[in-house]
Symmetry: C2
Subunit: 121 residues, 2 copies
């Protein structure tokens, strides 16, 4: 879910939010950044399954969208830190609710597997 052009007219602003946080790894990245500033390799350990390349790409988009800040230290070996911008922190309540809802969703899946034939309603 690459963000669209700036002048794109969102039919509904939920769409806009999804454009920012809807990428394959973005939710998880943002979630971990809520805890505080992280270095690139820290994130790589935290965001299980995400390749180095994808981590870079998703971070770049989050940066472009103004929710993540990238800080490069002029050191050898290189040191780069990622953190939420103030605007990015305004996503925190959403991320927390998403985590909670996700927990309940996963529980439901487990339950559903034990009780076969019981659907939703």
């Amino acid at each position: 879910m690459q963000s669209r052009q700036y002048d794109y007219r969102y039919g509904c602003s939920v769409e806009a939010t999804l454009d920012v946080i809807g990428g394959r790894w973005k939710g998880v990245i943002l979630f971990h950044l809520m805890e505080g500033t992280k270095r690139f390799n820290e994130l790589q350990r935290l965001v299980q399954g995400c390749t180095q390349r994808m981590l870079t790409l998703q971070l770049r988009e989050l940066e472009k969208d103004g929710v993540v800040k990238r800080t490069v230290y002029a050191e050898v070996p290189p040191k780069v830190e990622y953190s939420l911008t103030e605007f990015g922190r305004s996503l925190e309540p959403i991320l927390l609710m998403m985590r909670d809802w996700g927990d309940r969703y996963v529980s439901q899946l487990v339950e559903q597997k034990s009780k076969v034939g019981v659907g939703f309603d």
Copy 2:
């Protein structure tokens, strides 16, 4: 963002939520269903830019994930209604926050276009 297999181990439950609501049109569909039950063609009018095919596909996935209920009436011409399940309604607070955040995000984009050179921080 097709939902993964039921036994998939999410590294972080934010991921699970994004799997359910992160599809190209899902957020918008769910948002409109918050307002109440809608027929297929109503949704098609509401979800601007979504093709008939995509609307069908996304609705099917939302149904499979247990957040949307599909009701078929045995009539001619056919009548099909979509609504949120009870579980789906538990997404409402998230969707509302996403709408609000999206509004602020879009405002920021507009502002950014007028003040060129002013970045985030």
